[in-house]
Structure formats: C-alpha cells, structure tokens
C-alpha cells in the first residue's frame, strides 16, 4: 500500500534534479563519476589520486549539511530508525560493501544508470533488492522497533 501521507514527489524530483546537475558538473569540471563512496573512500586509500578534488567535493557536501541545518532543520532525521548499535553495524556494512562493490546509490544508481552501465544496473538491483528484503525482515518478520 502506498503511504500517501509521506509521499513527496515534487521535492523528490527537484532534489533529484539538483543531484543530477551536480553529477554533471563533476563530469564537466573533472571528468569524473560523482560517486560519493568512491570520492570519500579514496581519501583513505594511499593509492588514490586527485585528493584535492576529493577533499573539496566532500568539503562542499559537509558544508551543505551545516547550511541546510540552519535554514531548514526539518531536512534531517526526526525519528530514529535504529538503535545506535545497529546504526554502527549499518555503517560498517555500508563502508565495506560500497568499496567492495565499487559504488553506492550515487555512483551506481544515478551516474551508472544514466550511463546505461550494465554493471551499475546489476549493482543497483542488488542493493535495492537486499535493502527491501532487510526492511521486510526487520519490520515485518522480526518486528523490531528502534
């Protein structure tokens, strides 16, 4: 059943368009794929190059968090979805998985699908699939409340 009370198609499209514009700027300026896990993870990889690009891009992302917090606090988490312990496990899985799978929602989901990359389609189906399955298990089988 669709949750029409939470459904925000217009802001979702606008936000998405800005993400697509940002990814296009990264391509235009540096010729790169705007994949957050790759850009951020590379900061911790001695073999990675382009640390200035990585640092300034992630700096901009962090700056956006600070600014949005001031002008629109409601943009951030208002209800806990998991305990801090589970959140830490989630972080470990996201960090390990995105590096192993060479990308996350942005690199595979946005940039990869825009490029019609079969690898990114494969990866996106994989992470959305396990995501749907995990939420089903947590919410409807284990019925865990945060």
């Amino acid at each position: 059943m669709i949750d029409f009370e939470s459904f925000t198609p217009v802001s979702a499209l606008v936000g998405g368009a800005l993400i697509g514009l940002s990814a296009s700027l990264v391509l235009l300026s540096h010729g790169k794929i705007a994949g957050i896990s790759g850009i951020y993870g590379g900061l911790f990889d001695p073999a990675a190059r382009d640390q200035a690009f990585r640092g300034w891009f992630i700096g901009g992302l962090l700056l956006s968090g600070l600014v949005v917090r001031v002008v629109w606090p409601g943009a951030f988490q208002s209800a806990a979805v998991a305990s801090l312990g589970v959140t830490a496990i989630a972080g470990l899985l996201v960090g390990f998985g995105t590096r192993l799978g060479n990308g996350c929602t942005s690199g595979h989901g946005v940039c990869g699908l825009s490029r019609l990359s079969p690898r990114s389609l494969f990866a996106t189906l994989s992470f959305v699939g396990t995501g749907v399955l995990s939420v089903h298990v947590v919410r409807h089988i284990l019925a865990v409340s945060p």
């Binding site: 949750d3 917090r69 972080g91 996201v94 990866a123």
Partner: protein, 159 residues
C-alpha cells in the same frame, strides 16, 4: 583555484539536492524500502529526477574533448558483472536498510550534527578501511578511481 571552487560547489549542490529530495531522512529511506508495508515511493522520484537530468547532460558534456580541469575523461569501461560487485552491493543494501543512510546523506547529516549520522560515518569509514586492508590488493585501483577499468593505464599529469 577555479577547480577547487567547482569541486566545493558541486559537493554543496549534491548535498542540497539530497536534503531537498528527502535522502537525509532515514525514516524516508526505510519507508521507500518498505515495499511490503506502507510504501513511500518518493526516493524513486529522487533517482528518477537525477537520472533524467544526468542522462541528458552526461551526453552533452561528453561532446567535449576533455573536461575543464583535466586532459581526459575518467569513465569506467568495464561492462562485465562479477560476484564481487554483486556481493559488495548486496552488503551495502543491508546496511542502507538497517541505518537508513547511504554515504552522501550520512556525511551531510553528520556535518549537520545528527548524532546517529556521526556514529554511522565513523563506522562507515572503519568499514572502508577494513575493505581496503582486506581486499584492496585483489583488484585494481588504478588512477585512484574505483570504477576505473584495469585497462586504462594512461598516466596523467596532475592539474
């Protein structure tokens, strides 16, 4: 200098897009993944909006010979799916569902002072370091770009 400002602006624009789109609210992410319960399809519209814009602009930008601040584009050329890609994405999906954060929104929320996001980013960084330590040698990180093909070995002068 221009190159740095461009990077900073692109990062900030990305973060603003995530916030407006609702990606920085884990409850909305989990609502999107809750297909078998009360489903909030909003995030499909975020992805749809992003792809609609990037699908077109990607092709427009690639008409250029080179990007503004580099002498060539760095695009992945691999097209074959391997188990590692599948398993990595599968692990990511579980973590995404459990915490409601993917890397971008996690970083932006942590900067905004959201405590669970700070915990998430610390753990995510540890997970990345763990991956680098355990499996980095088994695959190419040429040019420092994880998507880069093993085949593209052209050395590139730094800008």
């Amino acid at each position: 200098m221009k190159s740095r400002l461009f990077s900073l602006f692109a990062g900030a624009l990305f973060g603003v897009g995530l916030s407006i789109g609702g990606m920085t609210r884990p409850e909305k992410v989990v609502g999107f993944l809750d297909v078998t319960g009360l489903w909030d399809p909003s995030l499909a519209f975020v992805m749809g909006g992003a792809i609609a814009v990037h699908f077109v602009l990607f092709r427009v930008v690639l008409r250029r010979k080179a990007p503004l601040f580099d002498d060539h584009f760095h695009l992945p050329t691999r097209r074959d799916a391997d188990p590692r890609l599948f398993v990595g994405a599968a692990i990511f999906g579980i973590g995404w569902a459990l915490g409601g954060f993917c890397p971008g929104p996690g970083l932006a929320s942590a900067a905004a002072g959201v405590f669970p996001a700070i915990v998430f980013v610390a753990a995510m960084t540890a997970g990345m370091l763990l991956e680098h330590a355990t499996t980095a040698r088994t695959h190419s990180r040429m040019e420092g770009w994880p998507w880069t093909s093993r085949r593209s070995t052209t050395p590139r002068p730094s800008p």
